[in-house]
């Protein structure tokens, strides 16, 4: 996988930035406009997938190594659970929107409003983006070797064992 021609590479590197920014926009404005953490996270992941298609897998791996993506995945999930538990501690019940109800009501339709909802969106966006990037990278690293029906699968590429 050496990547594609220089034309594709140049365009892809520009478009990638745009897609990435669009993903961030979708995440951050998730509570006001259509979109949200899931859609935005998938868009973030697809910007890296575009890079992978244009430049080859190795290039992307240098940018965002697998163990790091794996950790981001865990961190995103953990943050979301943390928001839930904070609701328990600060708001009295699991998943209470404590910021909106107690500390930071904000004005309706503003960017800073809705309390924990934007924060949850960011956590989920991080988690979804990292995990989908992870699975596509793992799938593309997997190189089946059809030479035989061997028992020991030495051809399978190491995924996150290195960490």
């Amino acid at each position: 996988m050496k990547g594609m021609t220089v034309v594709v590479k140049t365009i892809a590197s520009w478009v990638k930035v745009l897609i990435f920014l669009f993903g961030i926009y979708i995440i951050i404005f998730g509570h006001l406009t259509p979109g949200g953490g899931f859609a935005g996270g998938v868009i973030l992941a697809s910007s890296y997938v575009l890079l992978m298609l244009a430049f080859g897998r190795e290039f992307v791996e240098e940018n965002l190594p697998l163990p790091l993506a794996s950790k981001l995945d865990c961190v995103g999930a953990f943050l979301f659970a943390l928001i839930a538990v904070l609701g328990l501690v600060l708001g009295g019940s699991f998943f209470v929107n404590f910021l909106y109800q107690k500390y930071l009501p904000g004005q309706a339709l503003n960017l800073i409003s809705a309390g924990t909802i934007p924060l949850s969106n960011i956590a989920i966006g991080l988690k979804v983006g990292a995990s989908l990037f992870l699975v596509i990278l793992s799938l593309s690293m997997f190189k089946p070797d059809l030479s035989g029906t061997e028992k020991d699968s030495s051809f399978v590429v190491n995924t996150t064992e290195k960490e």
């Binding site: 163990p67 953990f78 839930a84 538990v85 328990l88 699991f94 998943f95 209470v96 028992k151």
Partner: protein
């Protein structure tokens, strides 16, 4: 206690999120953390006995938000899940050393436990579906954990059938929403009582029965179980046979059939027929097996038949307006058998794992004479076999006795006869296990076999003690009243569930 309800879900999920961060180096720390989590869950589950209540997530009232409901049935299931997962986790601390990626294994294990706890506690039918998916997806991955040919194939088969089951459940949820406009089980139940069962809701009920029946591996839907359960690593087989099919299958089925839709005569008969088919077919298929774990897997199908039969018999009596005391006896038999089966079948799978680890094979014809080499494994295996076959002082005897008595009282004499007959078949198949694995000639290549050590033995002895003592659950009135009776009462109350939940 009610305030601590989210902990049942948060502890396993958060530990699962943290565990993969430990890499190869932090393996022992990860194992310790996972074991601590299961111990904490066990403590919480014991503390939850006898409590009941509703937890409103996010302080939203029950109509708007999601509620967690703790009642007799869910606290019984929580107890079963945490006991078995505690033992299986203790066992895997050493057993899983032969595989790589242990941290991920622990994470998937905790996710499976968290998913099951979520299913048991959920009071919202869509939420039940979501947690059902967590537990199922974790178990698909765990079945394929060994990555051998057999494992992958079994995992694929399990995954396809399991996904179809999940989609059926989701479609059922959609139909229920389309007919009642609500997702909370109490409100759905109330709406169904008001409007009666129309074609759409009847179809939704059929979808739920097929979906949860697939997860429980009742006989026409059992194709995946004999492949999936033996292929998984031994502690996972213990979890799958011990609790996963019960939680995702039988618990969800009885919750939906009894508490949401309300039991009727056709569904009661359907459950009885499914139960009888599973009992007989599972037992016959099991006797012919030579693969140790495969035999146990078929016997799981047969034993699940007892549980569904007991619950269905009770439901039929309730729906037919019969004597409620008989009905409660039948349901008690079914639920008590569920608890017993969880303990002794997971013990049997753990002993099979111990044998497999020491001898490197699961083929019974290649074993023999292990009694001297592995005394503890042998002793625990005898206790579990005696339990499952229904030899008097052990736990399995009492639940089968209750089922037989209930069937005779309700004048289902042929059902009682089938129960006794299948019990004999079970005895035969476990005598076969004893004969070929532990007695007889010790083959040349197994001379070096050694007993396993430490945590594996502790886990097996713990479960064996439970097997011996479990009879006390029905013999000691105070234990029976605090653990089993509330669970039976939940199913006996049927659609009164909705009023109970709304009042709590």
């Amino acid at each position: 206690m009610i305030r601590a309800l989210p902990a049942f879900v948060v502890i396993p999920l958060v530990s699962a999120f943290v565990l993969p961060v430990f890499g190869k180096k932090g393996k022992s720390a990860a194992t310790l953390l996972a074991n601590l989590a299961t111990v904490a869950l066990l403590v919480l589950a014991i503390a939850s006995i006898g409590k009941s209540g509703v937890y409103e997530v996010g302080n939203w009232p029950i109509r708007v938000g999601i509620v967690l409901v703790l009642d007799g049935l869910s606290s019984l299931m929580l107890l079963v899940i945490s006991v078995v997962s505690f033992a299986a986790m203790l066992f895997s601390a050493r057993y899983m050393e032969q595989y790589t990626a242990k941290a991920k294994y622990l994470s998937l294990f905790m996710l499976m436990v968290g998913g099951m706890n979520g299913v048991v506690l959920s009071g919202d039918i869509f939420n039940l579906f979501v947690f059902l998916e967590i537990a199922s997806i974790a178990s698909y991955a765990l079945v394929g954990f060994g990555c051998g040919n057999e494992e992958l194939e079994a995992s694929f088969k399990y995954m396809v059938l399991g996904s179809i089951a999940s989609i059926f459940v989701l479609f059922g949820v959609a139909l229920v929403y389309g007919n009642t406009g609500s997702l909370n089980m109490a409100y759905i139940s109330k709406a169904i009582q008001g409007s009666g069962l129309n074609a759409g809701l009847g179809f939704a009920l059929a979808l739920f029965i097929v979906g949860f029946g697939l997860k429980a591996a009742l006989v026409p839907f059992h194709a995946w179980l004999p492949d999936a359960h033996p292929s998984a690593p031994a502690p996972i087989s213990a979890m799958l046979s011990g609790v996963v099919i019960k939680t995702l299958g039988v618990y969800a089925l009885s919750r939906v059939v009894f508490n949401v839709f309300g039991i009727s005569i056709p569904t009661g008969w359907l459950l009885i027929v499914l139960g009888l088919l599973s009992m007989v077919a599972g037992a016959f298929l099991a006797i012919g097996q030579w693969d140790l774990k495969r035999l146990m897997a078929y016997s799981s199908i047969s034993q699940m038949g007892y549980v569904v039969l007991g619950i269905g018999l009770g439901g039929l009596i309730i729906a037919g307006g019969g004597n409620l005391a008989w009905a409660s006896l039948a349901i008690l038999g079914g639920l008590f058998h569920l608890v017993n089966h969880a303990v002794y079948k997971s013990l049997l799978f753990l002993t099979s794992g111990s044998v497999e680890m020491s001898t490197g094979t699961r083929e019974m014809r290649q074993m023999g004479g292990l009694a001297e080499k592995m005394p503890v494994t042998r002793a625990t295996c005898i206790i579990a076999s005696a339990s499952i076959a229904g030899i008097p002082p052990f736990s399995g005897f009492w639940s089968k006795l209750i089922l037989v008595v209930a069937a005779i009282q309700a004048h289902f004499y042929w059902v009682a006869a089938i129960i006794v007959f299948v019990s004999l078949c079970t005895l035969i198949m476990y005598l076969k296990v004893q004969r070929y694995v532990f007695l007889g000639e010790l083959p040349e290549n197994l001379q070096q076999t050694k007993e396993n050590k430490n945590s594996m033995l502790v886990a097996m002895i713990f479960l064996a003690c439970l097997c011996v003592l479990m009879g006390l659950l029905v013999l000691v009135p105070s234990l029976k009243q605090s653990i089993l009776d509330p669970a039976v009462q939940v199913l006996m109350d049927g659609v009164k569930y909705s009023a109970t939940v709304m009042k709590m």
